[in-house]
Symmetry: C2
Subunit: 374 residues, 2 copies
């Protein structure tokens, strides 16, 4: 492989949090135990805060329900969605780690074509610790992979790559389709024998992609403040576009700041398709609006003065209000929530850095006492 | 799969020519016989025109040596490289078919991970007959493939795709590395068990890629006049950048005209690495110059008036002369050759269209009588 500028030292157990949004007992963790047991989990409980979520024994976790979110953020809690997996971004906000892996609770360990169980987290870590190559396309895929390299004609000046901010993983079994496609193809399944693509690649600069939040790793220090999942679910006119919104915002900011986004491996096993009729209702406005949202993001230009993720994000919120606001009031509300999110991020993350990495953020004291973290 | 706007009717035996540049007997065709025998071959003999090239029995072909090139093009033959595989583009020029597949004579039939022989030509045809999606990235790769589709969040207005102009295939065994990488990694091999990536994808708009001419299909009607392999080899200061040059030019023109470029499958088996020391000498200036050439192509803007490939290409030649000429006189000569190429293309392809597709172009009468085409 080409020599990455970053030295690889997985598995980063002290530098990565696993964020899981859920409304149910986390029995799915049993299957992930060999891969997750040495990591800290941040569980964001959606829906009824009085419900007790059971976490299998032996996991190190903290759990936040809606009451915790309200207590910790006060009035700024309005930027965190309720009754939607978009609430996961609260976990990104309160983490104090450098890296995040987030996964849905209906996702299990997939097997590669040889039948071997895939350690999705390890692959995300590898993706995040090796550079990206957004400025020129390498036809043999990720040049930093073992046994791979840059092909003839790849400019040498670009072979250092850029830091990787996001690692987007894929899904076997149930593909991540929208409601119309689900309705048309209710039985389409991706298996490791028919649809396993053994590749990681950088999404080129100035190209948008549909980012799915089911199986996602990112460098929180590089892109965290842009990983906001918007206003979805309860009280909002839209759902199932939380990760898409985050993806569009993150991609234009990564492009502006010279950061990379990778997609491909790892796969995980997505166990069940959500109800397409319910999804259609949630998605309807998103499907309609995205025809204007995509051209908006394709045309976004961030000024040179935007040198941090926060500055980029605030600038983006202004452009959202100005350009998308006229389409629907929702985008004015969303633009305000984007600002609130950044204020919340800065407030929660402005703790004095006693050591280089505080392991116990003060605010965790306020979190729900039930169930007891181990 | 998503429904392509183009109906698929392989194998197009009457609409596709296979172009092979060579300096030796074409025994490699024996292995390709089951896949190529129903197609017409255009063989461009490089080097000594008095040498007889043997073609295995049973193939339908025409063969052009340097004397033929000179006879057919007259003074315009100066745009066709000599002693370099760049001469292959002469075959593109004299073909009268809609599609071209071009392959090097050291490339053999590869096997997929199940051990099945890969029909590279059939895969190129499939790639060319299904649309491309350069405007937005589909994380599950080619949405037109059987069992695949567009993922959630892919704008519906972009799901028709655009016509595919180019299908770029890959290589097992010897990867297409530059001389420095060959020298550093003399033993790196790609096998179907370690480096087979089962994917076809569109190279996004405004992203350049290193196009290799070893295993390449294209729609000659859509992009043919831009598929010029430049001035390389004998009498030129550079080699092994013929396909790269064509790739850069084609990509910016495809982007401008709304055409697609795909890469990935099919693989073929590249049998031997060329001498890295010889390659280093050939490549040296290309490696150096490309650091300026790539930014040039990344910044190229073609005016709206350029509505045909020819107009785009002439405009590009002007920009090459103006922007790259100051770097080295070579680019002024190359820019002139680009114009000569278009003049030759238009002259050779301006034959009156009696039927919709003349099967025997008049100029073929002038081709070498030895060896006898079957």
């Amino acid at each position: 492989m080409a020599h990455p500028s970053t030295k690889i030292i997985p598995p980063l157990t002290d530098e990565l949090d696993i964020v899981i949004p859920t409304i149910r007992n986390l029995d799915f963790l049993e299957q992930w135990r060999p891969f997750f047991e040495h990591y800290h989990l941040i569980i964001v409980q959606d829906g009824d805060p009085t419900k007790k979520i059971r976490v299998p024994d032996g996991f190190d976790y903290e759990l936040y329900n809606r009451n915790d979110v309200n207590k910790i953020l006060g009035p700024k809690a309005s930027c965190i969605s309720f009754k939607d997996s978009a609430c996961r971004c609260f976990g990104f906000l309160v983490s104090k780690k450098k890296y995040i892996f987030t996964i849905d609770d209906d996702c299990f360990v997939a097997k590669d074509p040889t039948g071997k169980e895939i350690n999705a987290l390890a692959q995300h870590i590898t993706n995040l610790l090796t550079p990206s190559t957004p400025d020129f396309f390498n036809t043999l895929y990720d040049p930093y992979r073992d046994g791979a390299d840059f092909v003839r004609g790849y400019p040498f000046s670009l072979r250092e790559g850029v830091p990787t901010a996001i690692s987007h993983g894929l899904w076997l079994n149930i593909p991540d389709y929208d409601a119309p496609t689900q309705l048309v193809k209710p039985r389409e399944r991706n298996t490791s024998s028919n649809r396993y693509v053994d590749a990681v690649m950088t999404i080129p600069k100035r190209t948008l992609f549909p980012m799915c939040g089911m199986n996602l790793g990112f460098n929180r220090e590089l892109i965290g403040p842009a990983m906001y999942f918007g206003l979805m679910g309860d009280g909002q006119p839209i759902g199932r576009y939380d990760d898409m919104w985050a993806g569009w915002c993150c991609k234009v900011i990564c492009d502006h700041l010279g950061l990379g986004v990778k997609t491909g491996l790892p796969y995980l096993w997505h166990s069940k398709a959500s109800n397409p009729f319910v999804n259609l209702k949630k998605e309807y406005k998103g499907i309609y609006w995205q025809e204007d949202i995509i051209p908006f993001f394709q045309a976004v230009v961030l000024p040179k003065e935007c040198t941090t993720v926060q500055k980029c994000y605030i600038e983006l919120s202004k452009q959202v209000k100005e350009k998308l606001g006229p389409m629907d009031n929702y985008f004015e509300t969303l633009a305000d929530a984007m600002v609130t999110w950044i204020e919340a991020w800065d407030e929660i993350n402005a703790q004095p850095k006693a050591g280089s990495q505080p392991t116990t953020p003060p605010l965790k004291k306020e979190k729900s006492e039930e169930p007891k973290p181990k």
